[in-house]
Symmetry: C2
Subunit: 486 residues, 2 copies
């Protein structure tokens, strides 16, 4: 029995060891992945370590130590840990909040101490207690104001903490001036260490991140739209490319980007001029572009419901709708990708209008063709899905136009350079933007349809990418049946 | 000159005084509004004050003071300010994080101190510095893991801080055990004060909030859909009701509710059983319902683009589409409102299926009518918007069905009571849900169309709310023109 139990123990121990090893390997793998996804994460981690080392070294510097003593020096360490954030803007914002709040709360606490010092051994703690209660309650309530929550939440927290602590300490007759002064000095030293390391060692600018995020989001929308035209009508011959689904669903990350955009814009407002971004760069306008991009993403999400439906047979109406839809989605996609590029390299968007015009004229053609009254014996049921897609795409074109307008506004307010005439969307592929970085995309040429306005694409065979009839024939009836809810 | 300048000074002073007064009045007004919107905010603020007072009183309690000294007692104040959050779950989560992190970091720092104490005056600070650097860098990197960021971010922060502080203090040969022990005690006392006040004085449960938020969001979708049927087809006679726009756009707040739902679910996981929510209540399922609700909201956002279009003339096709759309949107809306009610009062949803069935059979009828081939001379352009609305609504019905399924799953997993047969959606109006709380809504009866499955609404006149032909005639052509993008 004992032996059996012993061997079971050993087996258990061995199994646990193997499990532990597997967990460690998994963890190491995901750490590596996290670091590869954004190497600035590794740099940030090392920067925090560096700032702490700096502060520790200061602690060991004798004159400082003998002035402030052990327990106050903790504020340096604490400030570094709590103030050091990923981006310069966030660090500056927190540092500023902490500094100002400490100063204010220290001053007010000293005032409170002076007011109450003649109230006697019973009155003083009671009045001070009341003051602590009042300031904590009022300040906590202030944190519910959206504007305060957005930019000064941390400051209010530090205010409550510092005021309470200094007031409470005052009760025991400590040298309160010294306490407040030491706190301010140590907090300033800690904050300065953060700000210096944050700015001097490979700085991460929130403004830069916001700029890239907006450009990337617009580009994702463009890719999804461009891919949608091909995917929906299966105009692309041969097998599907691996990246296709990923690109098509790129817009999904745009749906929920509101919070990150807002916090980046908020941090960016704290940042000094840097790189290509001068003082008073219009960060708020990026939020406007972001909101419009999200509205466009909602439309694409609605479109996406029609993607996975089957279609087999074709009809004249379907062909016309298909032609127009392909042009609308591909041209809107191109326009968005050029707008993304324009933001990214900070030039005035130039050739976007021609793409939007093509999409708009395609919508117009579709309407006049539909109106021409040659559809006498159609089965309405067969065209319903196609008509829906067309109608949502017309909405998407409107969204694209609005996005273009907002980016034009951004470009003129932020004084982007004038466009080079040689600019081509292919340049996008050379950028950092992840969803087009993959070389596989080069193997998946999207269909490009050139339609001059003088020759409306009334007959699909005129288009330069006239899809093969055999591949492309579709039946909207089947498409519709596929989403039958009954 | 002197007199003039003096009077200008006085005027300036007076103007500034008036401005200051206006600002103060504004501020007081918005504080009052904030408090009225959610009175728990006021209660929370007072609770923070109370917890601080409790801790201050402990500070004045002599035995504790003489044991820990001034500077360590700050940890009590700090813990209260940093740990006390709005909901019990968030407070428990932060308290747990802070406690465990302090214990762990204290233990490790003492270990590090013991390891390095024989390394001499030069070696010790260097090795300790290296350890501080390593732990800070690794821990900061760990904060980038989404799972750690979600639940243990604050703990990691406190770990870095405590380890660094105790290690650095150790350099000067302080009684390091005493320091770590005191920190742990004061942090525990502060944390306990928070948890006790948070749970005993009018507790705010994150789980309860999540439950209500999901119910409210589903209800908003229901209201928007129910209103949409009326608004789009202008079936409602007389002037529009004031609340209409607000109700119709209620779904907009659902679009961006992901982050709040996630953080509430995260806090709820920390909470003990409370009220109607037992141990292991399936909080994750609420997130599933929330995701499906958002998908439905995206569809409604796409629908909303067709709301503000004009329509004047009518045609047979338009009438049929209108009938079907009204039924689909009103019945989906009713189903969603009943689902919201079922969540709110925690019973199994019962009559929802009949509403969904009505919506589905209406979709089916529409399809068979469109297919019947009696449309020989229609202008496709005139029906495009109507067809789009119908098609998106069919999608919405599918979404509603999915939401119903997920709520059925939630109801069975969370063991909701069986439904009372007398349950009616009117009960909703008696609840806390804000968007229907207003008495004005009672003056805006939404059109209710009763369609039994045996009598499909093939002829609009059979429906109990047969809209007047004169009011209802519409021309989809004009609707379509209104969204002309060229």
């Amino acid at each position: 029995m004992v032996v059996a139990s012993g061997s079971r123990d050993k087996t258990g121990f061995f199994t646990q060891g193997v499990k532990l090893k597997a967990t460690m390997v998994d963890m190491a793998r995901s750490m590596r992945k996290l670091g590869q996804e954004d190497p600035r994460r590794v740099v940030h981690s090392l920067k925090v370590g560096l700032a702490l080392i700096l502060v520790s070294a200061l602690y060991n510097y004798h004159p400082l130590y003998s002035n402030f003593g052990t327990n106050n020096t903790i504020w340096m360490v604490m400030t570094v840990v709590l103030v050091f954030e990923f981006s310069v803007g966030a660090t500056l914002g927190r540092g500023f909040n902490r500094g100002i709040a400490t100063l204010l709360a220290g001053g007010l606490a000293i005032g409170a101490h002076h007011l109450t010092k003649n109230l006697g051994r019973v009155g003083e703690p009671m009045v001070l207690g009341l003051l602590v209660f009042l300031q904590a309650s009022i300040s906590t309530f202030l944190r519910f104001f959206p504007k305060i929550k957005e930019s000064y939440d941390y400051g209010v927290l530090i205010f409550i903490m510092t005021f309470s602590f200094i007031s409470v300490s005052g009760l025991r007759g400590h040298v309160i001036f010294k306490l407040a002064w030491e706190r301010l000095c140590t907090v300033s030293i800690g904050g300065a260490a953060c700000v210096i390391v944050s700015i001097l060692v490979l700085p991460v600018w929130a403004g830069h991140d916001l700029h890239n995020l907006i450009a990337l989001n617009i580009e994702k929308l463009g890719n999804s739209l461009e891919g949608f035209g091909d995917e929906y009508f299966k105009t692309k011959g041969g097998e599907a490319c691996n990246d296709d689904k990923e690109i098509l669903e790129g817009y999904k990350s745009v749906l929920n980007s509101k919070k990150s955009e807002e916090s980046l814009a908020n941090f960016a407002a704290w940042e000094p001029p840097h790189g290509r971004f001068p003082f008073r760069h219009p960060w708020k306008l990026y939020l406007k572009v972001g909101t419009l991009a999200r509205e466009c993403a909602y439309r694409i999400e609605a479109l996406n419901g029609y993607l996975n439906a089957d279609m087999q047979e074709s009809s004249e109406v379907s062909n016309i709708i298909q032609e127009a839809c392909t042009i609308m989605s591909v041209e809107s996609g191109k326009a968005l990708k050029e707008l993304a590029l324009a933001i990214k390299i900070m030039v005035q968007p130039s050739s976007t209008d021609s793409h939007i015009d093509k999409a708009k004229s395609s919508a117009k053609n579709l309407k006049s063709l539909l109106k021409s009254g040659i559809w006498e014996d159609i089965d309405l049921l067969k065209v319903i899905a196609g008509v829906t897609v067309a109608s949502i795409l017309i909405d998407v074109v409107t969204c694209t136009e609005k996005i273009a307008e907002s980016i034009h506004e951004l470009a003129s307010t932020a004084q982007f350079k004038s466009a080079e005439p040689t600019l081509s969307p292919e340049k996008l592929h050379s950028g950092q933007m992840k969803c087009v970085k993959s070389p596989q995309i080069l193997n998946c040429p999207h269909v490009v349809i050139n339609v001059s306005e003088s020759t409306p694409p009334s007959s699909p065979s005129e288009s330069s990418s006239a899809p093969k009839a055999s591949k492309q024939r579709m039946d909207l009836y089947h498409l519709f049946l596929a989403q039958d809810i009954s």
